[in-house]
Each structure stands twice: as structure tokens, then as C-alpha cells.
């Protein structure tokens, strides 16, 4: 019986949806290895987070509630998560490959003497047991890796797994006496400047409208795609080129080094489709590309391509979608 410990992410007392995708990964792994799943909740004042997770079939929900964990600093977080893994005898520690998971998990691996597989998209059976499948070279290739250390650490690409559904019941909640040792960590939180948005989170949205360098500010910029995102209840994303040129916030970037998304419907507006961008969206269910140049690589992955000026086509698209919706 190997135990899998999943780190829950939360924001303002609410469980982040991406945690449920990681939970599904953990359930799949537990099925293969005959193990069980525990959940770790780290933070300060996180009782409601643990409460919200009780219906998901976890063996135990461990709560490490400490003032020094109020903000997720990698050193203290990793120490507490590794201490918890040791005290519960967890064989696998998993978290979402979010900016937090990427920041914290390798330090957990170092503390546990564990090997780590990053950005895992599937579990595969091999002659050497269960391997973790992960994209390399911007997703041009997939590598199946095995970890030889007794404990494994895994970051999970949430777009590759559905969200785990609640199964009922009420998992026991257990307090863990966290010792974050923040004073020894030589790091201090200064501030967080959040992107204010009423739209859904990019990584969680079922519709994503992404803009590229073709959306020049002097022509109207990202303003042209906002009505489309709002009409469909979607999030706005961007290519790296558009972010680099300052057309939109950093947080919008989709691609190899930005966010990886797989919504039901993805609009690539005035995006050429460099391999680094495709790495972040090519698993979307339906891809629509609008671009003035018909030879752009984005059309090779699009289900529907339209050669047109975005500043003309997108407003028309919004009007016609409104018409069929009413």
C-alpha cells in the first residue's frame, strides 16, 4: 500500500480547481499501485479549505496551519510538506505544475532524497513498472520516465487530467504540527500585485480567446477580442510575442514557458503558431485560427481556419454569435 500525498492549492479560502485535476491523477496512480490518497493543506486559517475537500475520498486531510505559512514561500513550504510526507510515510508527493508547485516541489524532492518528474501528462505501464509520461522539447516529444528513488515527487499538468468528482463521505481532518522555520529561511514576502479580472482563470476556462502580435495597439489591440471572450464566458490568453511587446499582462502567456491550457474551444487570433505557443494549447478540443497570412503554422493545428483581418472578422463573429444565441 503506497500512500500518495497531494498538495491542495487554495486562494482566499477556496480550493483551486486545478487541485481536483491533480487529485484525479493521484486516484489513477493509486488504482495502479493499490495505494491510497491523502491531501495536504498548508497555509494560515485554512480550515474551510480542508472542509471543502472532505467529500473527495481522501484517506486523511492533513492541515498544517501556521502564521509562517500565510504566504507560500518555497523554503518553509517545502520543509513542512517534506516533514508531513515523512511523518505519514507517503511514497509519492504530487502537486499541480502551477507556479507554486514548480517552485516548491523540487525542494521537497531534495529533502526526501526523491527523484522528481515534472509536468506529468499520463501514467504508462512499462516493463519497469508504472512510468510517468512528460512532454520534452516543448511537447515535440514525450518521455516516459521511471524514478529509482523510494519516494517519488511529481508535478502534474492539470490540462491533461479531468477534475476529480466528489465521491461523498467525509474524510477525517487531522492537524499537523508544522514547523516552517521561516526565521531561518532568509526570505521575506514583500508584496503581490494581482491581475484584476472578472473573467475565469485562464488555466480553468472552457473557452480561451488568445491574441498575438498581430493585435497591434494602434489598431485597437486586445480590446478587439474582449467582447468575444465575454460573450462566451471565456478567458483571455496571449502568445509570448504579444506579452513581450507589452500588449497584455505576463499572466496571459500561453506556451512552453507560460500556461498550458486545453479548453473545449480555443481561438488563436492573429497568432502565428510558433512551436513554443503550440506547446501550450495544441491539446485544446476545438481550435479556431484567424490570421491574415494563410501560410502561418497555426493553420496546421486549427480545426477551423479563417484568413482574415482580426479587426474586421472578430467584431463580425461577435455579432453573428450574439444573433444565434438570442
Amino acid at each position: 500500500m503506497s500512500k500518495i500525498l497531494v498538495l491542495a492549492e487554495h486562494d482566499k479560502g477556496t480550493v483551486k480547481k486545478l487541485t481536483l485535476n491533480t487529485l484525479l491523477f493521484a486516484r489513477q496512480l493509486a488504482q495502479k499501485t493499490g495505494g491510497s490518497v491523502d491531501i495536504a493543506v498548508l497555509g494560515h486559517g485554512v480550515g474551510p479549505v480542508a472542509e471543502a475537500l472532505r467529500g473527495f475520498g481522501a484517506g486523511t486531510i492533513h492541515v498544517a496551519d501556521h502564521a509562517d505559512l500565510a504566504y507560500p514561500l518555497a523554503g518553509p513550504y517545502a520543509k513542512v510538506l517534506a516533514d508531513l510526507a515523512k511523518s505519514t510515510g507517503a511514497k509519492v508527493v504530487a502537486a499541480t505544475a502551477s507556479s507554486l508547485g514548480k517552485d516548491v516541489l523540487p525542494r521537497v524532492a531534495a529533502r526526501l532524497g526523491a527523484g522528481m518528474a515534472s509536468d506529468v501528462v499520463a501514467l504508462v505501464d512499462t516493463k519497469e513498472g508504472t512510468a510517468y509520461r512528460r512532454p520534452v522539447w516543448a511537447g515535440s516529444l514525450l518521455a516516459d520516465v521511471v524514478i529509482d528513488s523510494p519516494v517519488h515527487v511529481v508535478s502534474v499538468r492539470s490540462s491533461a487530467f479531468d477534475a476529480a468528482e466528489a465521491v461523498g463521505g467525509a474524510s477525517p481532518v487531522q492537524a499537523f504540527a508544522a514547523q516552517p522555520d521561516l526565521a531561518k529561511a532568509r526570505v521575506r514576502f514583500v508584496k503581490f500585485d494581482g491581475v484584476q479580472s472578472t473573467r475565469p482563470d485562464l488555466a480553468e476556462a472552457s473557452v480561451v480567446v488568445a491574441g498575438g502580435r498581430g493585435l497591434k495597439p494602434e489598431k485597437g489591440g486586445f480590446g478587439v477580442i474582449e467582447p468575444l471572450a465575454d460573450l462566451l464566458g471565456g478567458a483571455i490568453g496571449a502568445s509570448r510575442a504579444a506579452v513581450d511587446d507589452g500588449y497584455c499582462p505576463n499572466d496571459y502567456q500561453i506556451g512552453q514557458t507560460g500556461k498550458v491550457v486545453a479548453p473545449q474551444l480555443y481561438f488563436a487570433i492573429a497568432i502565428s503558431g510558433a512551436v513554443q505557443h503550440l506547446a501550450g494549447m495544441k491539446n485544446s478540443k476545438v481550435i479556431v485560427a484567424i490570421n491574415t497570412r494563410e501560410d502561418e503554422p497555426i493553420f496546421k493545428v486549427a480545426d477551423y481556419g479563417l484568413v482574415a483581418d482580426a479587426f474586421v472578422a472578430v467584431p463580425e463573429l461577435v455579432e453573428k454569435l450574439k444573433a444565434i444565441k438570442s
Partner: protein, 251 residues
Amino acid sequence: MKILVSAKRVSDPNARLNISRDGKWIEGDVEYILNPFCENAIECALQLAEAHDGTETVAVGIGDDETARFIRQGALARGVDRGILVEADEAVIDSDVIARIYQGLCERERPDILLLGKQAIDGDSNQVGQLVAEYLGWPQATFASKVEIQGDEVIVQREVDGGLETIALTMPCVITADLRLNEPRYASLAGIMKAKKKPLDELEMDDLDLDSTDPKVRVVAMSTPAGRKAGVMVKTVDELVHKLKTEARVV
């Protein structure tokens, strides 16, 4: 102040990648480039050195003789003071061994800041900076988009989900560079000439007295992901709306 900075070479992502015969890595005529995130790290090191007199910058590459060329051209020619090449077979080492090598180098060189790219664009693991920070017991700031030294603290702005975070680290510390940290400079002709004479030490892993040199993660198979089927081109917005409604059924 002393800054140790990474100069990793990676195979060009735009070149064709062929899976090797044993199915465990790539082979063939691979073109190499300097890892883009290392270019940002090198630029950051140079800017910090320019702003703080008496700073020494040292570039590190891990690999074979070819890697030395990337240390010279990518780092020394741009202005980094000297280089260190650690010889290792990149095909068999994992992020953990690389982190152990950096740990050994930091114990030997005692830098105030270890500056690395946030990830290498071949393995895409995004682990080394965090691992070495833990092995050394140093604070870390990953995904840095702004780095400033104020007194004995380094103030780092980080690109995280949902916005920008600012944290303050006490040196010595580890920083990993994100793309928007800076615009890497080009090497000048004078820089390229000077680089030829700059010291470049070559070390073996055995020289570093490492705690562990066994990889923990092994590739057992490589594959090519299933490609998307080519879609259709539509002529008008009307046709697009029609297909989205009746064929894809997503609106």
C-alpha cells in the same frame, strides 16, 4: 560580490528531433543554441556587475568540449569574467545530478548569487535552481522578472500565476531567470576577441567531491505525440459560425 551563472547549451527546438535507436533520447545532427533562459541569467549577472563595482562573474557549463564553445561565445564574449566547464555526459545525468554539481561548485566558489535559467528548453524540467537551493540551504527566487540589490538583500519580482510577486532574499541565494527579466545583449567584436583569452577551467565531476552522482530519474522510452488532424479552411465568418454551431457544437 561574486555571481555564478549558468550557460547551458540545448538542442535547437526548431530543428528536427530524431529519437535515438535505443528509444531513450535523441540523436543525429543536432543543432545547438544557448538555452534562452541562460541568456537572461547571463544578462542579469552582467547588469548587476555593472551596477556594483568589484563584482566577479563566473559562467558554468556542464557537458562535453562543445559546451566550452557556448561558455566562451555565450557568456565570456558578452562580458562574463571567467568560465568553468564541468565534464559530464548529458544523456545520462538528470536534474538532480546537475543540482549536485552546482552545489559542489557553490561550495568551492562561494558565490553570493547563483543565477540560473528557470528551465532548459530541452528537458523542460524546471528543477535545478530549486534543488540546489535546498541542497545548499539557501533561499530562492524562481521565475524572476526583476532583480535589484538593496543593502544586503536582493529584491526579486517573480512571474507567478495571477500576477507579480515580490520577495526579498538575504544572500547567498539562488535566482532563476524568466524571459522578461531583460533583453540579452549581443557580444561585441572586442568582446569576442577578449573572450579567447579569458580563463576557462575544466573540471571533472570527481573534482567536486559530490554527495551523490547517481541519477534518480531515467527515461525508459520516447515517443512522438499524436498530431492533430488537419482542419478545414472556411471562407467567411458566417461559415465559421455555422461550423462551430452544427459541426463542432461548441457555441
